[in-house]
Symmetry: C2
Subunit: 342 residues, 2 copies
């Protein structure tokens, strides 16, 4: 392992070496070999892509949830083929990503054959960035839309109490150059991970993000975390989308709604025991060849630039990924120390 560091400097690791490090941590804390391998790759990839909220920041949570027994680190996902366009996947109270991995090849085949495929992943704990879940499908030439419900933090529009999770959605389509056009966004006014980071850094939030425990607007991230709540983005429209996501990810998969998650019997645990749904569509069934479809995407991307949208969704992520490929993944000395402790 090539590591260039001193106590106060950033550590530089290759993706491969970072995965090995994380895998060892997960194995030592109760994950099975296959689960540790998948989660380590997922978490390291998030860090490589510059995600503060879904990268190494999450490792302490993985360890606490595995140790508490709330999440089963040795779960073996069950994939059931229940229709020509439907896979029902029971994650066995394990993390969601290993369940997705178990179904990904079959899902691609089914979507290409039927024209569409639903992946309904239930009894799962989703903990990685959603963009990594849709990206491989778009790389395989498919349109992918995924939603996850999570832990109750978001007040419905006009309400006064937490109900929905931050309920992210991610959407990806193939581009002409083999790249992917992708967005990944929470339906909360701010993602929960971002609020936690802002609280850790004692930042003040913009207006319109959240309420404190008494239901009053607040700009303190800590007040939101301490019994307060997040607002949905975009008022009643964002609230409706949060509802849709709790239905698609919770009810369709036979899993908890965000407000039903309960880890109180597992000290140290804090994980969304919910569901995830992925909708795959084969664009070649609609608009001729894949080349014709990706040509249309390029047409739209050009028009977006022409209308003055200077940054595409996902661009910052791709830039971080490119830099990491060239120079390795930079890890702060403090974060590195915390990893060693795990």
């Amino acid at each position: 392992m090539t590591v260039a560091h001193s106590d106060d400097q950033a550590v530089q690791l290759s993706l491969h070496d970072l995965i090995s490090t994380l895998e060892a941590i997960l194995l030592r804390n109760g994950a099975s070999g296959p689960v540790a391998r998948v989660l380590a790759a997922n978490c390291a990839s998030a860090e490589r892509d510059g995600s503060q909220s879904h990268g190494l920041f999450r490792m302490a949570g993985y360890v606490k949830n595995l140790r508490s027994g709330f999440v089963d680190g040795r779960a073996v996902p069950q994939v059931r083929d229940v229709g020509s366009a439907f896979l029902l996947i029971d994650a066995g109270n394990g993390y969601a990503r290993p369940a997705l991995e178990a179904a990904i090849e079959l899902a691609i085949d089914k979507a290409r054959s039927a024209g569409a495929c639903i992946l309904a992943i239930g009894n799962a704990h989703h903990n990685g960035p959603l963009w990594l879940d849709v990206e491989p499908f778009a790389e395989a030439g498919l349109i992918a839309l995924s939603v996850v419900n999570s832990v109750t933090y978001v007040v419905p529009h006009g309400g006064h109490k937490r109900l929905y999770g931050t309920n992210p959605m991610a959407f990806a389509v193939p581009r002409a150059d083999g790249q992917v056009l992708l967005f990944d966004q929470a339906t909360a006014a701010m993602a929960h991970g971002e609020v936690r980071i802002a609280a850790r850094e004692s930042k003040i939030l913009p207006e319109g993000i959240g309420l404190d425990a008494s239901g009053q607007p607040t700009r303190s991230p800590q007040a939101i975390l301490d019994g307060g709540a997040l607002l949905p983005f975009g008022g009643h429209k964002g609230s409706s989308i949060a509802m849709m996501i709790d239905i698609l990810a919770g009810a369709l998969t036979g899993s908890n709604f965000s407000h039903q998650v309960d880890w109180s019997a597992y000290p140290g645990a804090e994980s969304a025991h919910t569901g995830q749904t992925i909708i795959l569509i084969d664009p070649t069934k609609g608009n001729g060849s894949l080349r014709m479809f990706t040509g249309r995407i390029e047409e739209l991307v050009e028009a977006m630039a022409g209308a003055g949208q200077t940054r595409l969704p996902g661009e910052r992520r791709l830039a971080a990924r490119k830099l990491a490929a060239e120079r390795g993944i930079a890890i702060e000395a403090e974060t590195w120390k915390q990893l060693q402790a795990l």
Copy 2:
């Protein structure tokens, strides 16, 4: 036909009689029998449901577009079964709703058998309310999500020029009592039809709805219509959803993007010659029986009330529908006169 009216009073019509009236108007203006029947029922149902922007208000537009030749009122939709979970429908440059009608039974069968079905309707002019397109599927026990792209009116986040349409999305799921839980919303900060009504009534809009022709924020609906633009709802997140909808409704169906619609060769025409995509999912493939699924929906609806959300999406529509069933559909005398003139 039972009509109780004087020159200055509202006219009261049954749904059946309103449909007959609209059907006659459409037949006289170039629609075929089947097309006139479907459009009249669609438009009258929107009026019954209390929609100002998609009811009788749209009739003058139907007539102008049919007369101009931009929309083919005699189009015969072609339904192609291209996969066990995919129907590709060519509306033949006609209105979208007759194309949907031609596919609706087959789509329900396919969704129940495969677990999902995509309806990609291209070469179409969508002009009715989207909620009427998803409602029949939810009444049949399916989850339905539909998106339509339209005419360029919305600036992408950070941009300065119109690019996206108001690009609505509608989502419907079955409830335990045979009713439907449904929302229907534009991704613009305000629907285009609502801006037109506000302009007609010389209203001042709230902040954050649109820009004038010089790219400056404005509260005048007329300034938005006169070369200005609408903003997406919810900043960059709403903008990403508008992009997704232009891809799903435009590119997937092989139809125009919103910014590519061009009626300049057809004087009097103003219609979105684009596409519509509907995603159907059979919830019984995920969470057991339909009864179990709708039980979960009731659970969520109760929790929404418990969190202080006093009004469900779609409630106003259902109340208007109930009133219309009891008392008939009230039509203003002025609107009635305009209809007679068509």
